[in-house]
Every structure is written in C-alpha cells, then in structure tokens.
C-alpha cells in the first residue's frame, strides 16, 4: 500500500480534544454523505453527486493543519473539504437541495461549495482547472505579505492534464505558498490510475518541478495531519510549494450514476477493512482516549447535526425567480 503512517495517537503530540474532534468531523462527513446519497435516491437532490465515503481522513487531517486564515481550494468532490473548513452542514445540505439558504444560494450545487469568510475558496468542477487558481492565490499572498497558505486538493486524474504541469512549474518558479494535495484514490471515474497515468506514483511528478513531496497513508488521519502540517510550515516559511500524494480509496461509486463495473467487490471490501473512521476509533479506544460514553455522545451529536441539516434544508425556500438575474456582474 505504501505511504507514511503514524501508529500511535499518543505519539502525534495532539491533545485529546483535538483527536476526538477528528473523529467527530469524520463521522459527521460520513453521515452527511450517506444522507445525501439517500436523498439523491429519493429524488430530493439532482445533478451530479460525488460522495467522499472512505476519504474522510484526508479532508479532516489536512484541513486541521491549516490556520483559520489559510485558504482551501478543491475539486468537485468537495463536501468533506467544505465541512472540514467549517461550512455549516445545514448550508451544505440546503445547497444540495438547491435552496436559497445554501452556501452559494442554490446556484452551484454539490460541486461548487464556497464560503469566502471561511477561506473555503470553492469546489471547482473542471478537472485540474483550479490548480492555476491556487498559484494565483499564492501570488496574492506573497504580494500582499499575508503569510497565508493555500491548500489545493485534487484527484489522481488531475495529474495528467496540462493544467497540472503548468501550475506546478509556475508555482515553483514563483515560489508560492501552496500545498498541492493529490487524493490518489486509484481511479478517475472508472479508469484505474495505471491505465491513465504513465507514472503511478504521483509523488514522482512533483520531482519534475523540483517541488519537495511526500507520500502519505490517507486512511490514517494522523498521518495526513502530520504530513500536511509539515508541508504548510514549509510553505509559510517562504520555502515555496509542497506536494503531498495521499493514498486513499472511495468506497462508493464515482457519482451516484456509477454502476461500478470497473472494480471487484473484493477490492472494495479489502479497503473497507481499513476504514479511516473505524480504524481511528479503534486506535483511540486501545489507547484509552475514547470511552463508550464519549463515543456515544459523538454519535448522537453528529446524528443530530445531520437531522437538523435535513430539516433546515427541506424547510428552506427555493431561490426567488428574481435571483436568476442577480450577480452576473459585480458592481464596480
């Protein structure tokens, strides 16, 4: 499997509150995704719906390494990232239902979550199209002396497009504070990595641009956190971009429309043995950091948040028709 792991929670240097919050967030994302899938099946959510089940440790671990004013820019499989960056699940769910109270007023749907005030600079749905934007954000951070790091997340599929190479090259030339994080989940839609990429270790692609890189176990939230923290520190210090390849796996289809004909169920089952939430919970329990009562409380809280999000979304109004003509241009 490969990728750096962190074996013990106690060795991570993180306090109990922080690690329990990781569990809370991962569970919240998992439950959000399961509920979204259910609402999609019931026809309440339309369009494309790309779920993040199995990859929760990446969003939670990586975003936890950011400071509040740091920026996150990501691809269309963005629910987990948005929730980790702090967008309220109510506004996320309302967006999926196309409601006026959604995080982008029902204009973007699943693939385009955004909240400027939280530094969640978008889900972007053109594969790799946001990598150049990250370079621009990094340029702005440097030019304005902000010491602000941009975390740019994308899939393995994004590494084969010109944009990827143009962005990494310029990121290095301009020495921008950007952490490029590739979620290598072994597939781009139904195409296995080795059928789409001549180099299957994404980490080697960073080498072509002289960008330091590391390969990390994406099923281990602590490993992701540790590697991202190091990468963010590197960028903030002024040492330029950093590249992380995070090995992960999506448990469900590419989108809700995916009949999953391209991989064996046994492969999925094998990865599910390494479920990032279950394994982290077990680790916490084994080290005496999570009591049955604490677990029960986290389960209950996350259940309630999701139930409340669904209620909020369903009770929210549709956008008014007058909204059709709003915000095409900014007033100068």
């Amino acid at each position: 499997m490969g990728g750096k792991t962190v074996t013990k929670v106690a060795k991570s240097g993180l306090d109990k509150k922080t690690v329990l919050n990781f569990l809370h967030q991962m569970l919240l994302i998992r439950k959000f995704e399961d509920k979204a899938g259910e609402l999609y099946a019931r026809g309440k959510i339309a369009g494309f719906l790309h779920l993040y089940n199995g990859e929760e440790a990446v969003a939670v671990g990586a975003v936890s390494a950011l400071q509040e004013h740091d920026l996150l820019i990501t691809h269309y499989r963005d629910h987990g990232h948005a929730i980790a960056k702090g967008i309220d699940v109510k506004r996320c769910m309302a967006e999926l239902l196309g409601k006026a109270t959604g995080c982008v007023k029902g204009r973007g749907g699943s693939m385009h979550f955004f909240d400027m005030s939280l530094g969640m600079y978008g889900g972007w749905a053109i594969v790799a199209g946001h990598l150049p934007l990250a370079v621009g954000l990094g340029l702005a951070s440097n030019a304005l002396g902000k010491k602000q790091v941009t975390l740019c997340i994308f899939g393995d599929g994004a590494t084969n497009i010109g944009y990827f190479h143009e962005a990494l090259n310029l990121a290095k030339l301009w020495n921008v504070p950007v952490v490029f994080l590739c979620e290598n989940n072994l597939y781009g839609m139904g195409t296995a990595v080795h059928r789409a990429s001549a180099v299957t270790e994404m980490v080697r692609k960073a080498d072509a641009y002289n960008i330091p890189a590391e390969r990390v176990d994406g099923m281990d939230v602590l490993a992701v956190r540790e590697a991202t923290a190091k990468a963010v520190e590197h960028a903030r210090r002024g040492d330029g971009p950093y590249f992380l390849e995070v090995l992960t796996y999506r448990f469900r289809g590419h989108s809700m429309a995916d009949p999953i004909l391209y991989r064996d169920k046994s492969e999925v089952d094998e990865w599910k043995q390494r479920d990032p939430i279950v394994s982290f919970r077990q680790k916490l329990e084994a080290e005496g950091l999570l009591s049955p009562q604490e677990l029960e409380q986290i389960e209950r809280e996350t259940d309630e948040l999701i139930a409340e999000a669904v209620r909020f979304a369903e009770e929210s109004p549709d956008p008014p028709l007058t909204d059709l003509y709003e915000d095409i241009y900014a007033d100068s």
């Binding site: 920026l71 820019i73 959604g102 995080c103 982008v104 007023k105 204009r107 973007g108 385009h112 955004f114 909240d115 400027m116 005030s117 600079y121 978008g122 972007w124 053109i126 199209g129 946001h130 990598l131 150049p132 934007l133 990250a134 370079v135 621009g136 954000l137 990094g138 340029l139 702005a140 951070s141 030019a143 304005l144 010109g162 944009y163 143009e166 962005a167 090259n169 310029l170 030339l173 301009w174 709003e326 915000d327 095409i328 241009y329 900014a330 007033d331 100068s332």
Partner: protein
Amino acid sequence: MPMITYREALNQALREEMARDERVVVFGEDVVAYGGAYGVTSGLVQDFGDKRIMDTPIAEGVIGGAAVGAAMGGLRPVAELMTINFALLASDALINHAAKVHHMFGGQMSVPLVIRMVGGGGAQLASTHSQSLEAMFAHVPGLKVVTPATPADAKGLLKSAIRDDNPVLCIEHALLYRVRGEVPEGDFLVPLGKAEVKREGKDITFVAYSRMTLVALEAADRLSQEGIEAEVVDLRSLRPLDMETVLASVRKTNRAVTVEEAWRTYGIGAEVASRIQEEAFDYLDAPIQRVAGVEVPMPYAKNLEQAAIPDARRVVEAVKKLLVRTNV
C-alpha cells in the same frame, strides 16, 4: 493634447494604474525583459520592479487561471496573453472560471482582472495568428470585452478595465500599435459599455469596432465626396453592448451597415443587426448590410489576405448596394 501611439497609450494606462494602486500586477509571456511581444509593457520593470511585473512560461492555461486566483486573493492582475489565438488555451480559465466566480459562488466574491491580448489580421501571419475571435468571448455573460480603435480609447478603456471589479478582456489590434492620436494626459477614463459616435452623418450608420472603425471612417470620407454623409458608431465595448447609441443613430439615418474584421456567421454584426430590427424595425428604410471578414482560414499571401479583410472599398460597395434599393 499630446499625440502618442496606441502602444504608448496602453503603456501609459498600465503605468498610471500601477502607480495608483499597488494591487495592480502585470504578468505574461515575455512582458519583462522583452517588454511584451508588441512592446506594450516596455520599461515597466524599471519603474515598478520585478514583484509588480513578472514573466511567465509559455503556458496560457496557468496564466489565465493564475489571474483568476490572484484576483480572488486580493490583487488586480493584468495578464497578457500575447495573442487572441493563444487565448484559446486560456479560454477554460476565462469562460469556466473567471466568468463564473461572482455568480456561481453566490455573489460573495468578485474577480477584478484584465486579460490583454492582440487580435486581428493583416500582418501576413496566416491562419493560426490572424484571427478575430472576440465574438466567442463576448458571447459569455460574466465577461466584459473591450476593443479600442484609437490611442485615446486604448488608454481610457484599459484604465477603466483595470478599475472594474469584473473580468475584462482587452482585445487590441495588431495593426493599430503604431497609429498615433491625441490622448489626454493623466486620469482619462473611457467608461466600459459606452459606444461613441466617431463621425456624425445623417444618411447611414456604420457600426464598427477596433480597426474596422478606422476603415468605416475612411469609407465615410469617400462617400462624403459623393454627397452621402455616414455616421460612424464605434462600439468600443462588445460586452456590455451599448445599443442605445446605435439605435439613436439608426433612428436618425434609417439605414445601417455593420463592419467587422471577424467572420460574419454568428458574429458581432449579426447581433447588432438583430437588435436593431428588434428595437427599431419601423425606422429602417432598407435591410441592414453586414461587411465582414471572408469566411476562410486566413491565407498568408498578401493579395489573398487583403482580399479576406474588409476595406473601405467593400464598405462603400455595401452602401451603394443598399442605396440602390432605397434612393437617398
């Protein structure tokens, strides 16, 4: 008023806006030491340093995308894409991203950026380097497109574009850089989305933009000798499109000819003609004529290229054709 070239006017606009606002940064291929493929950014690095003006690799995708990101990050980037033909490689960043940010993200964020590029033919650069693709970009809600024809408009429009909070494409013309004209010094702004009557007349309206404005003016001079007075409306901005000025003119002259270097089909002239008939049908004494580029990939050979680009003679012919039907 000083007489300066179109190139100098653009350079002046950049210089003034960079001095006025520290957030204005310039980047693109060969903009620093080379001074820009057409010399527009010449000397800026000496005055503003290499943090305010930066070379990029030959990588239009990241130039377009970095401009969007830089604007999102709080700068006011002016990116140069060398030519509109290469803008095709940046069109994803412009159309899928720049044009969408403000609207799709719920009006939370705007992207104040300018993309400069040269368009048009006439320099014998053949089909991949002579195109007028402005209609493609002007088609897109969320983008603004300006096409200055004179040095004064070049300065005033570029300055306004830089101050605008939206993505603005400034499409310059390859054959205009050495054209001289009077340009007001200092803070001279031309509003975006405002056409200008460049010559008054009572008999017919020419609607043109970019270099074709000069061609239309030349045609108007020739017609004047025959007693026909043409009014020349220079659109200046293609989006927003100032139909008020066009319609006011057509209501006066009752006839219109559109003049564009770009291909006719699905073009700017088609749009303008359609809007005139929608909004001023009763004022028209004759069908609207379109003078446009010949619908072929641009050939290299001089005689063929000349035959493909509208000139004053073709505009005059279009007028004659139209007048035969209506007797002025």
